[in-house]
Symmetry: none
Subunit: 209 residues, 4 copies
DNA sequence: TATGAATGAGCTTTCATTCAT
DNA sequence: TATGAATGAAAGCTCATTCAT
């Protein structure tokens, strides 16, 4: 799985990359403002700095733009996560740092995350699985971190609990973005991170000893 | 706030209620399948059992249908919650029951909740606040339950924590619906309820004393 | 010719008269504002003080309203003309008075005249002749006045000239209404009357001896 | 003032000119038959020789077509007037020629003039002033001619009279078109010109000397 | 490769007219 | 006679997509 090939008429791979970068950048800006459906292909072309004809040299359908955008956003998030996080330590501290870092990445990319969050459902039956797969990889990252901690005896969680917990972390992170209208009025990002970390951890830390 | 009046050309209030019920029912079925944007007004009319002309006797714009749908879904959720839940007991057991009940309601209405979840953002700047307001009322319900428990000494939480916790409960409930493609493959509803309740509770229960 | 029967479902002639009066009054007010095409039958019904269903008890088609309106406006103009003008004197003074009076009537009914002027063209091929016929009767009135004057030796005009002159008077009167955006900024009604009368008269008054 | 820019999506100015010419020609033909309101945009597109989509590449709204049509007709009328008329001579003969020429132009373009005459009022508040301005320029042309004659002592008229007279000429010219159902049955164009010229002139020629 | 004019299916919305009550 | 809910044809307009240049 991992990547759906979006066919282009143009051959030059270098050019494809360049043009698609322009396209993704322009499209995200537009999708933020008006959503996928209310954005026209002409607008995307214009925001990308080329003509509508050129746009269609690099995609087949409008929906391809959405796929490329979603794909890119996940790459971006994962890249930032991987750059700064060591998922293999398996200590309480590394777990806390991972959460904090993830929440910060969501905060930085909150517009992008929101776009993907709201528009991914408009992907075709064909494209959606690729994006969901990427999402599961992100969740999988949290699973791995948790597993390391469990292996090290920091937490006691079974397989099922690890999975659910990873989902919770993933969603509570996104929540900072998609419920910003409520949350960001009440807390700073740091407060949010601290409170959520506490709540999450208290739930699973071994309390007897 | 509480309700935006959607203007109708027809005067008979009873009829408005009846027709709008048909409309909401038809629209939800369609929005489930194809989303708001891909559903046409003609389809809505047809699914509602009347003509396109009649549809427009009961709304002014397509978007009104979406508002009506969102509004109804929240009423439905709240109604079911209120019917079976006593929010004033302030006991651990009542808290657990409230969560379990909420999760069950989300499960029963999962299509509806998903629709509202995914499409609400397409509401106009004018309508959105009304829907967000309803959402905050739901969150407020959890806040109240938590407050009662805190007052009774069941939990120790400050104002900020209560609020965040209420949001978490709300979102983790919805999560059962909007991440069903992952979660419902892994757990039954009862398992989900039990595990989440555990995780949530362990985080806040007073452990020593 | 003289009148086209607009069929009504209702039998009671008295009622027909009453309802049509309401209708004409309401319609004129609306046509003034927005023209015939932009006025809906619902608006006409409402402005008339009854329901759309009732409206259609007294007409067959929307266009009938326009016909009734045009018909009424001509009656109104003619009625006012006939009330105050003696067309049989054949003196210079009576001619001047007739013109002045006509111009004053146009001024008083300028909205109505404008409506008829602008909308009559929307009448069907069937109705239009009846309205044009009424218009010709008005022109005929001026012809008669002119003829009397010619018979009395006040003017020297042949048949052709009388006819054209009557048209000129008719149109220059209406002009006060339909070019009001220009004329009424430059002249008062009295100035307009005086100047036009002078110009008209100098052209035909016997100048020698 | 002088011209309202009607925005086009297409950039090639040459093409815009060409397509709009087709459009204007097609639209005039249709407006003649059925008026602006009863003509559909699809009909205009078809009569112009292109698709509805293409039509909207060259205008923004249906009303723009009407504006373009009115604008063109005035240009056409003025162009023809300017080509053959010297407005600066200030002789009786040149005045007569100007009237005759104007009446002939109205006769040649009588369908166009009629269209503009009947439909201009359907222009939006935004466009109308531009058309009225053009109309005033035409009237201004007659004013100038009259002024020259007054300066040369051919007529004795004050400012106010010149203005009114110019309006009269303008309207009596149009009258040949918009009352053709009556006038053109009674007179030939030449007769009409001669009679109107006589009536107009006798009114203002200096009679004593 | 890049362009942008052309296309037309399809959208939302309106409104004259009907007819059961 | 009066009502107004129901209808659906038809309107204006948009926009994803194509293709000749």
């Amino acid at each position: 799985m991992s990547k759906r090939e979006v066919p282009a008429s143009v051959k030059d791979a270098r050019l494809i990359k360049k043009r698609r970068n322009q396209m993704i950048k322009g499209a995200i800006a537009l999708f933020k403002q008006k959503g996928f459906h209310r954005t026209t292909t002409r607008e995307i072309a214009k925001a990308s700095g080329f003509s509508i004809g050129t746009l269609y040299e690099y995609i087949r359908q409008k929906e391809d733009v959405l796929y490329l955008v979603c794909d890119r956003i996940y790459d971006e998030v994962r890249e930032r996560m991987e750059k700064d996080i060591d998922t293999h330590q398996g200590t309480l501290e590394s777990f806390k740092l991972a959460i904090a870092h993830y929440f910060k990445v969501v905060d930085e990319l909150q517009d992008e995350v929101l776009v993907m969050y709201q528009e991914a459902k408009s992907l075709s039956k064909e494209s959606l699985p690729y994006v969901l797969d990427k999402e599961m990889q992100m969740v999988g990252m949290f699973e791995n971190i948790l597993k390391q901690c469990v292996d090290n005896g920091v937490f006691h969680l079974n397989e099922q609990e690890i999975r659910l917990f990873a989902h919770n972390i993933f969603v509570l992170g996104q929540m900072w973005g998609f419920r910003r209208w409520a949350l960001q009025k009440m807390y700073t990002l740091d407060e949010y991170i601290e409170m959520q970390t506490n709540l999450l951890l208290k739930g699973i830390l071994e309390k007897r000893s």
